[in-house]
């Protein structure tokens, strides 16, 4: 059973409720309703038992709009929309620390909240006409009062993939990464291409390889800010690399036993990705195949 990072959320998203303003008002008036506590830069506040911290709606800014994250066994759960764009970057030590403390499933709720709050902060105006927009549908859309266009949160599909050749996996390193850190190659799916085509294009652009037999492995959300990570394996036609050095500073072919050793905590030619990154899930699946 694969359980990638940022999955396993327990909230019922209550899609039908969002569309019913009277029901949303009732949820906000429910004494059991809770508001997600977030620090500056959308940092999660973690309880001693690895859960997200919540407070009552009495602590919400009366001027702020709320997002209905969903229902926890019938109890409404909200987050407060702010105009503060730009969450703490994924690699900030405080955020990394907090993510490491959250039990499985709690990080999924965090990912949901962070992605939608950050989207609101960065999309307060109508892309069609430039007017300020208003929050609708319990925080799951915005609407332009001028041109009536509705805008929905973005989710940007990204392919992340291993090219394999003769039992070895291709890992790459961006120049800005810490020494020793390698991961799977990745890139945004573009308009007008399938997942499989995006995998082949990105591997060719970044490493100069042609691939075939793209195989889907797993997916997870990645709220920095709004990606849907789609992990795949593809068979390379040879192992001769031509790197795009604006994207990839260095790339290595790593045999299966070395990937297994690194993921088990042993020595190897690269530092393992964190457990909540899908690169970890992808390498784990590939290593046991």
């Amino acid at each position: 059973m694969i359980a990638p990072g940022f999955t396993g959320g327990k909230l019922d998203r209550a899609d039908r409720l969002r569309q019913d303003p009277a029901a949303v008002a009732a949820a906000m008036g429910d004494w059991r309703a809770r508001l997600l506590l977030l620090g500056p830069g959308y940092e999660p506040q973690v309880t001693d038992d690895g859960r997200l911290a919540w407070t009552t709606l009495a602590d919400a800014d009366p001027q702020a709009d709320l997002v209905l994250l969903g229902l926890d066994q019938g109890r409404p759960r909200f987050a407060q929309i702010t105009n503060a764009a730009g969450g703490a970057p994924f690699r900030s030590p405080r955020l990394l620390g907090a993510l490491g403390e959250l039990v499985h499933g709690e990080a999924a709720t965090y990912a949901q909240a962070r992605a939608v709050l950050d989207w609101h902060a960065r999309h307060r105006f109508c892309a069609a006409c430039g007017s300020p927009t208003a929050v609708i549908r319990a925080g799951w859309a915005r609407k332009c009062p001028n041109c009536a266009v509705e805008h929905f949160p973005r989710t940007d599909p990204v392919v992340i993939m291993i090219a394999e050749y003769a039992g070895r996996a291709l890992l790459g390193r961006q120049g800005s990464w810490p020494p020793g850190r390698f991961s799977a190659l990745a890139g945004f799916v573009e308009p007008g291409e399938s997942i499989e085509e995006a995998v082949a294009r990105e591997i060719h652009e970044e490493a100069g390889l042609r691939v075939r037999d793209v195989r889907y492995v797993a997916s997870q959300p990645w709220p920095f800010p709004s990606q849907l990570m789609i992990a795949c394996v593809a068979a390379a036609e040879d192992d001769a690399l031509t790197l795009d050095e604006t994207e990839i500073a260095e790339a290595i072919w790593v045999p299966r036993d070395q990937v297994r050793a690194v993921l088990a905590g042993g020595e190897g030619p690269f530092l393992p990705p964190p457990a909540y990154a899908i690169a970890h899930t992808l390498l784990s699946e590939w290593a046991v195949a």
Copy 2:
């Protein structure tokens, strides 16, 4: 070998070239450069041999921005950005007719052009501050001259799936569809969920079923306006339906042999989806499993 609709495009997207203004200018000056011919509503113009029709850049509006679609054996291929939002709807007879005439691969180029042109038309203002934005990166992004934010085309992941139970597939019908037309259920992937979680949520919301063992089958772009369709199969825990009648007017469980018969052109309880819709690919894969 699966070949979903709107895949198999032959253009090299030339990612590195887009980022080099001098190279883009050279491509526009290349006598071999061509401009995609489109009718009103982004309708494709189809040649007698089932290909997209092109003209020279001399026919471009000198005031308009161009998108570099890519290179065809080194020859630059462009499309012209207009402010005309709202392409012809997918079910318009002229568009359906044109799509049916295009040979495999040509529809992929059309999908790429249509998705990015329509995105420009509907995203001319900065969502962060409301200012008019300018085209950059050879048509693959827009930038705000006021707040310097860059905006990239949207690609919205959508899950489309069959729930299966005891050798039967669940198909549903929206109230607005023609009589007899059934298809796989579908819905947008939301912020903070994986593909597998979106499949389970949508099937539960629309049909009241709990599922497990979500299996990825295939993907394709769907440029009406900007979806990435992700096709899956999931095992339902029972077959007792509770329909969300705002989404699904009617649903039926169809045995494998009946799905096979319908796809082969025979009689059955539903009309088959068009070949370029991924529902067709999904049903075909499921029917032979």
